[in-house]
Symmetry: C2
Subunit: 304 residues, 2 copies
Amino acid sequence: MIVVLSGGVGAARLLRALRVVNDPRTVTAIVNVGDDLVMHGLSICPDLDTITYTLAQLNNDELGWGLRGESWRVMQELEAIGGEAWFALGDRDLATHLYRTQRLSQGATKSDVARELAVHFGVLESIQPVSDDSISTMFDTEIGPLSFQEYFVRHHHNVEVRSLSYVGASDAAPAPGVLDALSNAQRIIIAPSNPLISVAPLLAVAGIADIVRSRRDDVVAISPLIQGAALKGPADRLMRELGLQASCVGVAQYYRDFAGTMIIDELDRDRSNEISELDMQVRITTTIMANDQHARALASEVLK
Amino acid sequence: MIVVLSGGVGAARLLRALRVVNDPRTVTAIVNVGDDLVMHGLSICPDLDTITYTLAQLNNDELGWGLRGESWRVMQELEAIGGEAWFALGDRDLATHLYRTQRLSQGATKSDVARELAVHFGVLESIQPVSDDSISTMFDTEIGPLSFQEYFVRHHHNVEVRSLSYVGASDAAPAPGVLDALSNAQRIIIAPSNPLISVAPLLAVAGIADIVRSRRDDVVAISPLIQGAALKGPADRLMRELGLQASCVGVAQYYRDFAGTMIIDELDRDRSNEISELDMQVRITTTIMANDQHARALASEVLK
């Protein structure tokens, strides 16, 4: 069994790459819920949905998020009547949020819903929220406190962040099966997701960090930064703003207690000594997953 | 000023008819909220929306409910992933529910939202929920207790009803302005809506029945039954099941304490004596509103 500590897009692409070399039924994604929000009364779980859609091969490559073949009738109408339309919800995507919200109102958990949606979308991997309890990543910024989606979508992560907090994480219980999966996994992979806003809220849930630390020899982390820059999103900027080095070395420093092995991109080959000095093994490969061959190379390295 | 005690479709058509002979800015619709529901986390107010859509001339005449030019992408997708799709919500219509739910979550009241939507949709009448508090019309039926929409939509009002209750009504406060509007109106009209499930929940709100009774001489009720049958919906069947006479006379008996005048259809001309005996004035006209001429005739009779 393989466990992947997962954010959204980067994790989804890694999970898809793993399929090339590995039976998906042996893979469990433990997914961040710190970005989750209630909007228009709807319970929205962006990371869970990104992973489900990507593994169902329904992801929208043009947008980089959401579902392919999407339409926008509801949002257009909402905008026309003066509603809040800054958080774009496609018509297909809305069906997922209606489904989840209705099931939660009937007493189902986020884990139940994630499992049901995986079945409906024909996904064989186990997709599991880290917790069924509420966790909210909050940003203290130069313009005041912002929720995740206010920071990320409304302000296009273009404001300076002073600190982060993962509200509710320390009181949140790991979802059923999460601790067992981590204890029993042959390999734990920290996906190339944003360390501070995708992986940190996972590690902040009671009990998770302790188990991952105890499994350090079996934990492989993939740097989301290449030559100091994130492929997508604000990981580099955020790390700098919060006093970390914005590079694969900074990522390694951040994960050194949790991961025995760090995978970095070929373009960062010259940084491998700095990471070795952190008592981490270093593996070097292409990490961009730009095509199937590269994805296979990364997946093979991760599972080696 | 004219006040119309309103359910959904029948009231909407009457309000539209009144425009032909009367300035819409002098009309206040006080609208039933006993059909309101939360579905998929969304706050849905069917009667308020039917009236707003109809007065905005956006009502869907083919369906008899909802918006014209409607599309169904979200519902199709919801059904495809195994969601509850028995309560059909069109894509345009969903925008209204997202808007309302978001505004309520921000602390707005149903009255605020009704007013905002009326402005957005260009409606000049004042559209006012009878209460900002929650009222739920519940059906005790041969197959057990059902909510309004379970009875009406899911079971197509095709089960026997033993009793009705308007849960929350006696504790609900009239929305701001409702009692004043009733006190000050020149004329109060009871729309040709279902007496038991559209008008009764209005009258059950604390204070409303007393004021309407005290204004009896200025209250005109329009029978929704013609020759013992409802144009639409289960009014006739329900009246029978609950021990009332399913006819304009039964409607008059039901309203006799509230309305000094009863308007019945020409086809019921032979019942007028029975209604006069209830100490009500009777006016006879066409009540179907099948075309503009008929609508004008009814509106004139109502305001005479």
